[in-house]
């Protein structure tokens, strides 16, 4: 088992900016840890505080909201 702690991070991303930016990171082949996973939202305004709480409840170590 790996000793280094790799946090599980849920990233809530606005479809039009942050999600597109994550796509661009791919086009540019920028490496980042695989433990970050993106959930697309139609707008960061759609983020309900419940989503953040649910992510932590489910076991996330961190939540990122980008938009």
């Amino acid at each position: 088992m790996s000793k280094t702690f790799e946090p599980e991070i849920v990233a809530f991303c606005c479809r039009y900016c942050a999600y597109a930016a994550a796509d661009l990171a791919g086009s540019m082949r920028l490496e980042y840890p695989a433990s970050i996973k993106v959930v697309e939202l139609p707008c960061s305004g759609k983020l309900d505080v419940l989503y953040v709480l649910r992510a932590f409840e489910d076991g996330a170590d961190g939540v990122m909201v980008a938009g």
Partner: protein, 1547 residues
């Protein structure tokens, strides 16, 4: 009546419902989208391989600091996939014929070499491209390959190949060797790939690497720099390198056809043809008379030049393809080959018969011929030094001066003989290569040039003793090829020898062709052939090589072999024999000028050939070892790096091998298409000024001087430096940066202002400081950076610009120094840049010297040569700079009817004006073509949608994307994993899921497996979701039953170094997608009818223009004016800006010279009144508006027409609202206004000027003060130009009048700069002031007389105070929103900005739209602007409105928020939170607890952002397609809590 006002001339002929838009920048995209949405077919022509234009190169946009790419990206995508926009990239308009309404445009469509419909933009091709050239998109700050995607977000999202032409090396080579290609691969150390490239054109690389005469090198452009590339040595190097590895025999070729081919002669020509024919699928038999294969290579070229091992290897590589080689098999009778069942025969017997001159003694013992001698040497007949060999005496004399003669001589040297060589030619004219002759001499061969051979002397035994020669004075050949020699009299002498070798030519032995073989011979005893097809007179028999041409070089034999094979293939396949004409690319010959420029730019560095080791003479004369050594790896790569990559693409085919989609076709040919359209819009954009021409600023000479566009690329996070500003000289971080304004603007060669540079410099300075601050926050820097801008006037003249500029100064500490720098010097120690300047405006005395780490040149706008050429080809009038000439009253119409212009092509301008003009030009085209709407635009049809009520049956399709996903994670494993997920009934993996065949397969699977949800795990939904949704619709499923898992951009591409983790993440992403898919519901849109009428508020120039355009397009217009007459501000304008100083003369209807504003207004009003579709509502105000886009209902109130009469209110229905309520001149108390009649505003002054009663005496001295009152906070844009206009008018009326203008910055942007120049030359004085030290106006009252008017102002250049006593003080007061604007704004629920002007949806890209849909604005309601700008914006607003009005019905958005009234408590949270003002609480609904009143969200206007759903405290609102359940299940699935998810979601 359906025809528009402009349609009169074309009423009889149907109009073409298509428009061509030229230029794929922001203007072109906007115009295309408007027209396509209005039912026209659009052809968008772009010269580059992707649309996006200059804006795509920018980092941020001012004044909001939005990311430029983020803001245009949605427009790029929308343009790229609009069904009615055809994007024609790599294309150029050649000419336009026909007339407005019915043009035919010829478009040159240059090849892209990559099929965008197949390309998946994976980049596998670019990864293997060996070419390295500057990346122009990054302004040369980085490099790219010849195959490239213009920029990461490019649309079309596909690669393209840049070919400049054929490299001269390839052109010079008879076999067309792609020398540039293998050189580039050698540079990269890719030896095997390099050899593959060589072998595609030439099966004998090792051989040619040694003995080729390398014409490629003579043609090499590098020769103009220093020395040609040593191409031959590189070829040899790479062959040696690969051949040193264990040989891998090639796979035998598969025989696909029954027909058989016989080839006579196993030389280079015959074997080349054999290889081509075998690879094409034919059985080939090669007959060779000799015991070895290789022909002259093996038997005619000495071993020391060409080792046997190389020949044997390269021959074997061909034979191993499955060729039947029959050695020692002389063909005696051609005809018998056909009897033996061969279908075609190639004669390639070479020229092995040496020639003896018919002189006495030619047949003596000891007289040999070259071919036989060399062959005998090669076959080991002679032994070194064994003089007892009867056939070869001690002293050998070779007769002849060609390369073969030298071969004979040098071979004889190696056999230990004394060797002499005699030839007819002089030493200098010897046909052998000079280096060969030199090598022979160095090895001891004695030359006797300039001799005739009279007779060969023999002894009694018939053994040779010598050759009697004479000296030849001169010689020539006659027309029939016969030799005539003038001999020197009495010069006969004898050269002693034991052996004579004739080397005076050779010919083919054709004895095997009997007379009855039907194969014709020529006079010279060669086979007669058709030179194009190599066919002989007997069908099926072909001949090629030395037997046709006489001795030639091996590379020619190779070429002929290829040609022969091609002919035979055509013959066997029954095709026309003549080879098809191939479109030829131009040969790239670099001009001396270009080479000089590239050397200056540092692109080429002078460096001679890398020398190659050679065997010393003393070690080579007694053996047959190779004389030339070879390069080692390092020197080969160094030599290869000298290549100039002339053709750009080298056609090395690496990309073709790498492409998994078969998308690349190097043979694609360009074509010219004629496209019928009704109108043309020109939006070709600008180019930046080439600042290399301003040598004083050092661009190109000093590495740390960059252009602003280079700087933009550096600032861009996706740019070449990843967003880090760097010095070019040492990649260090610059701490002191200078920005130089007006480089290529406002100078000797540009009399205009480029309008944008001041603002972008402010932006670049702000961003630089922002970056430094961010680095400090991250602990990566110390934040130490300073920016200084050297400028003349800051032109911050648009909405929010003045504030932005002030912020740069006050919040970011950008230093603004008012001066014009004359030059820049470099500190050679550290490459820093030194400037010297004086700036009295800052209160500094004397010269200041400052040193900077980096200097940014704010380069201006120009029109490129190609655009100028386009303009003249199309016959539109351009000015001297190439800008398109248009008129004040019709600013978007070019001089040719039906052709419109938009953007900087008309005049330098910023993005918002460009976007306005694009829409305005679209309105012009739409008005012209309105009757042809929907005649050419297409609509897709789908099968009926099936109902989905059963349990989820999900199909999962996992994409390999070639190796883009499959290469980094376990795709089949992910598919297998997906198959076991809940609800999934089918999962599979596909090589390319987006390919046409897979799409068809998905449709089939949905039908046959009864799938009701589809998940695709591949790339990004941003580009591919619509494609797959369309597939679902074709399969009869609702498109919302689709979900994507982004396992490429957000998985394989970013976790490429960890297979296991990438695989695991892909599984998770697919699990998340499948769990959401199970909860997706079909969504439906509703259809709403559109009311085809517009409500235009404001009857000024903007309102009337918009009304006329919309009416001309066939829509009803209600034009509402508060006042009793139309015209608005235009009623107050007396003079236009003197047009001669701005443009050519303005005309109305093509007649008359300058037109007065009142004449223009009268005409406009008459047009409005004559238009039956416009209903003018004078004295009328808007009371209330209800409804939504497409369906508004407004209440208007008309004031009583008579005193005391009744006003009356009524309703009108309309689909759109246009706000064009204008602005008014500010009148406040500043500078004593209102206290004295001699203090007036500019409009009042204009009225005075126009008043015939006014005498010049009353205004012998006039002072104007700029930036009055509110204009201290925002720039009113017009005032500087208006002040200059009136000052010039006064100067024209009374030249002796003193006019002094007190100003902060003179903001005469664009061509208005000419007015500033004219005012200065007319003697108008300018005095600068700052707000900290404003002018002071005083009225000193003396008893009994008029008070004395005085203005005191600090004069910075004189350094003292001026006291002026004008007759008249004119205040340049700004335009401000008219009274009632805020009230109107609240009635329409529209936002206004801090200064009270209406606020657009997006300051850059949606300058006429409100964020509320269906409502638009134009004219001074938006911001102060000039008449032509108002007209353009009014046309733009009409175009945006027509996007709605041209639809019969509108589909509502399906992804909208829905209220469950039973949960709603009517708390108004949603009403407050909605950025678009959509939700309202209505009494029509019963809320929670049966209380009256609940929220309602009109689906027709909901934008679907979901903010209300997130904020609703009662969770009464759900956003369709993004319900809480649908999103939360993804979160749960991420943590593999699927089972629980079901329970919890049910809560």
């Amino acid at each position: 009546m359906s025809n528009s006002g402009n349609g009169k001339s074309s009423a009889n002929k149907a109009l073409t419902g298509a428009v061509m838009v030229v230029g794929g920048g922001i203007a072109g995209m906007q115009a295309s989208l408007d027209l396509a949405n209005q039912g026209f077919q659009v052809y968008l022509v772009e010269a580059q391989s992707a649309i996006g234009g200059k804006m795509a190169q920018l980092d941020k946009t001012f004044p909001t600091n939005d990311c430029a790419m983020c803001t245009i990206s949605p427009k790029l995508v929308e343009t790229g996939r609009h069904p009615n926009i055809q994007v024609l990239t790599n294309s150029e308009v050649l000419d336009v014929s026909g007339q407005a309404g019915n043009f035919s445009v010829r478009v040159s469509r240059k090849p892209r070499y990559v099929d965008p419909s197949k390309c998946v933009a994976c980049g596998d091709c670019a990864a293997v491209c060996p070419v390295i050239i500057p990346d122009h998109f990054n302004e040369g700050l980085s490099t790219r390959g010849a195959i490239f995607k213009l920029y990461p977000q490019a649309v079309p999202n596909a690669y393209a190949i840049e070919k400049r032409g054929i490299a001269p090396c390839r052109d010079a080579c008879p076999a067309g060797q792609r020398a540039q290609g293998y050189i580039a691969l050698i540079r990269k150390g890719r030896w095997a790939d390099a050899l593959r490239v060589i072998k595609m054109d030439n099966p004998f690389p090792g051989i040619c690497g040694r003995i080729c005469n390398h014409r490629c090198e003579s043609a090499c452009n590098r020769g103009q720099v220093d020395e040609p590339i040593n191409i031959r040595a590189l070829k040899r190097f790479v062959t040696d390198k690969v051949y040193a590895e264990p040989r891998q025999p090639p796979e035998p070729a598969v025989v696909k056809f029954k027909q058989r081919v016989a080839i006579i002669g196993a030389g280079p020509c015959g074997l080349t043809a054999a290889k081509d024919l075998a690879l094409a699928g034919y059985a080939v038999t090669v007959f060779e008379a000799m015991p070895v294969a290789g022909g002259m290579l093996r038997l005619g070229v000495p071993e020391y030049r060409l080792p046997t091992a190389i020949i044997e290897r390269e021959v074997q590589d061909i034979i191993d393809l499955g060729i039947d080689l029959r050695l020692n098999h002389r063909i005696d009778d051609l005809g018998r080959l056909f009897d033996e069942g061969f279908d075609s025969v190639l004669i390639a017997v070479g020229a092995h018969e040496g020639i003896r001159l018919p002189i006495p003694g030619a047949n003596l013992e000891g007289v040999l011929v070259n071919t036989h001698f060399l062959r005998d040497v090669r076959l080991g007949k002679y032994t070194n030094g064994q003089l007892e060999d009867e056939a070869l005496g001690k002293r050998v004399l070779v007769l002849g001066g060609g390369n073969v003669a030298i071969d004979c001589a040098r071979s004889a040297v190696r056999l230990g003989r004394e060797v002499q060589l005699a030839c007819l030619e002089t030493r200098a004219e010897m046909p052998a290569h000079p280096w060969e002759v030199e090598a022979a001499e160095a090895e001891g061969v004695i030359l006797h040039p300039g001799r005739t051979f009279e007779r060969i002397l023999g002894d009694a035994a018939g053994q040779v003793q010598g050759v009697a020669c004479m000296r030849a004075a001169s010689f020539s050949f006659d027309e029939r090829g016969r030799l005539h020699v003038e001999k020197t009299p009495d010069s006969e002498h004898v050269i002693d020898c034991d052996t004579v070798i004739f080397s005076v030519g050779q010919r083919a032995g054709l004895a095997f062709i009997p007379e009855d073989a039907n194969v014709g011979l020529t006079e010279k005893q060669t086979i007669a052939i058709n030179p194009n097809t190599l066919a002989t007179s007997r069908p099926g028999v072909f001949a090629a090589g030395d037997c046709i041409s006489g001795t030639a070089f091996v590379i020619e034999a190779v070429d002929r072999g290829h040609s022969a094979a091609q002919s035979i293939l055509r013959y066997l396949q029954g095709e026309a024999m003549e080879p098809p004409a191939k479109p030829e690319l131009p040969v790239v010959h670099l001009s001396a000028q270009e080479i000089e420029e590239r050397i200056e730019n540092g692109e080429i560095k002078r460096q001679p050939r890398v020398p190659m080791p050679e065997l010393p003479v003393e070690r080579r004369i007694d053996n047959f070892m190779e004389v030339e050594g070879g390069y080692d790896d390092e020197s080969a790569q160094e030599e290869a790096a000298r290549c100039l990559a002339c053709g750009v693409c080298s056609e090395c085919m690496s990309c073709v091998f790498a492409c998994g989609r078969d998308a690349i076709n190097h043979d694609e040919a360009g074509k010219i298409e004629s496209i019928p359209v009704g109108a043309v819009i020109l939006a070709p954009g600008y180019q930046i000024y080439n600042a290399h021409l301003s040598q004083e600023f050092g661009l190109g000479r000093f590495p740390n001087v960059v252009t602003s566009l280079e700087y933009e690329r550096m600032l861009s996070a996706s740019g070449p430096t990843g967003g880090h500003v760097q010095r070019i000289s040492d990649q260090g971080r610059p701490r002191r940066i200078a920005f130089l304004q007006c480089v290529g603007s406002r100078d000797q060669s540009h009399d205009y202002c480029s309008s944008v540079c001041c603002m972008y410099a402010a932006k670049e300075a702000i961003m630089t400081i922002e970056h430094a601050r961010a680095e400090t926050r991250d602990g990566k820097g110390d934040g130490d950076v300073s920016c200084e801008v050297f400028f003349m006037d800051t032109r911050a003249f648009s909405k929010g610009y003045e504030e932005y500029y002030r912020r740069a100064e006050s919040k970011y500490g950008v230093k603004y120094t008012r001066c014009r720098l004359s030059d820049i010097k470099e500190n050679p120690q550290n490459n820093n840049l030194i400037v010297r300047y004086a700036s009295p405006y800052q209160g500094q005395a004397g010269l200041v010297e400052a040193e900077f780490d980096l200097v940014v040149l704010s380069v201006g706008m120009e029109i490129s040569e190609s655009v100028k050429n386009l303009g003249s080809r199309l016959g539109v009038e351009l000015d001297d700079y190439g800008f398109c000439h248009t008129t004040l009253f019709d600013p978007l119409q070019t001089s040719r009817p039906g052709i419109f212009a938009a953007g900087p092509f008309r005049e330098p301008k910023d993005i918002p004006e460009t976007v306005m003009e694009a829409s305005g030009a679209a309105a012009g085209a739409a008005k012209l073509l309105a009757p042809a709407r929907y005649t050419l635009a297409i609509e897709q049809e789908y099968p009926p949608e099936r109902r989905v009520e059963e349990e989820p049956r999900i199909g999962v399709f996992v994409c390999h994307c070639g190796s883009n996903i499959g290469g980094y994670l376990d795709v089949p494993g992910v598919a297998e994993y997906a198959a076991a997920l809940p609800g999934v009934v089918h999962a599979e993996d596909n090589l390319y899921t987006c390919s046409q065949d897979t799409i068809a397969h998905i449709i089939e699977q949905v039908k046959s497996l009864d799938l009701n949800r589809v998940v695709v795990a591949s790339c990004t939904p941003m580009t591919h979701e619509p494609l797959f949704q369309d597939a679902l619709r074709q399969a009869g499923l609702n498109p919302y039953l689709f979900e994507m898992a982004n396992i490429r951009n957000q998985c394989s591409w970013v976790h490429s170094s960890d297979w296991d983790k990438a695989t695991e993440k892909a599984r998770v992403l697919v699990r998340m997608a499948a769990s959401r898919a199970a909860r997706l519901q079909p969504l439906h849109t509703s259809v709403v009818a559109v009311e085809p009428a517009a409500l235009v508020l404001g009857g000024g120039a903007a309102g009337m223009t918009a009304a006329l355009n919309l009416a001309g397009q066939g829509f009803q217009v209600h034009l509402v004016e508060r006042e009793s007459r139309l015209g608005g501000n235009l009623n107050l304008v007396r003079y236009f800006i003197p047009s001669v100083q701005i443009n050519a003369s303005e005309k109305i209807d093509g007649q008359g010279a300058d037109v007065s504003p009142q004449a223009y207004l009268a005409r406009l009003v008459a047009q409005v009144e004559a238009e039956p579709r416009i209903l003018v509502h004078l004295n009328t105000e808007l009371l209330e508006t209800q409804g939504f886009k497409g369906n508004f209902s407004s209440t208007l109130r008309q004031k009583a027409s008579t005193e005391g009469g009744q006003s009356h209110s009524y309703k009108v229905k309309h689909g759109v609202v246009l706000v064009a309520t204008g602005g008014v001149e500010y009148k406040g108390q500043e500078y004593g206004y209102g206290q004295d009649p001699r203090i007036v505003t500019q409009l009042e002054f204009e009225a005075l000027l126009a008043d015939p009663q006014t005498t010049p005496d009353s205004m012998r001295s006039v002072v104007m003060i700029q930036c009055v009152g509110p204009a201290e906070k925002f720039c009113s844009r017009l005032c500087c130009t208006t002040a200059l206009k009136n000052a010039l008018k006064l100067k024209e009326m009374a030249p002796q009048t003193d006019v002094t203008i007190l100003y902060r910055d003179i903001r005469t942007y664009g061509f208005k700069e000419r007015l500033y120049t004219a005012a200065r030359s007319a003697g108008v004085r300018f005095v600068h002031f700052e707000f900290e030290r404003k002018p002071e106006v005083a009225l000193e009252r003396h008893a009994g007389s008029t008070p004395e008017l005085s203005v005191r102002v600090w004069e910075p250049i004189l350094g003292g105070e001026l006291k002026l006593k004008p007759d008249l003080l004119v205040l340049s007061t700004p335009v401000v929103p008219p009274q009632g604007t805020r009230e109107l704004a609240s009635r329409l629920k529209l936002p206004v900005d801090m200064d009270g002007f209406f606020l657009e949806a997006h300051v850059k890209l949606r300058p006429v739209d409100f964020s509320a849909e269906g409502v638009f604005m134009a004219g001074m309601a938006h911001y102060p602007k000039f008449l032509d700008e108002s007209i353009a914006q009014a046309q733009a607003a009409a175009s945006r409105a027509a996007n709605i009005l041209s639809q019969k019905t509108m589909q509502t958005n399906a992804r909208v928020a829905v209220v469950d009234p039973q949960k709603c408590v009517g708390c108004l949270t949603c009403v407050r939170i909605c950025p678009y003002d959509v939700p309202r609480v209505s009494q029509e609904f019963i809320g929670a607890g049966s209380v009256l009143g609940a929220a309602y969200i009109e689906p027709a206007v909901c934008h679907g952002c979901g903010s209300c759903a997130a904020e609703c405290p009662a969770q009464a609102i759900q956003l369709c397609h993004y319900t809480d359940v649908q999103t939360l299940t993804k979160v749960d699935a991420m943590f593999n809590l699927l089972e629980i998810a079901g329970e919890r979601s049910a809560q």
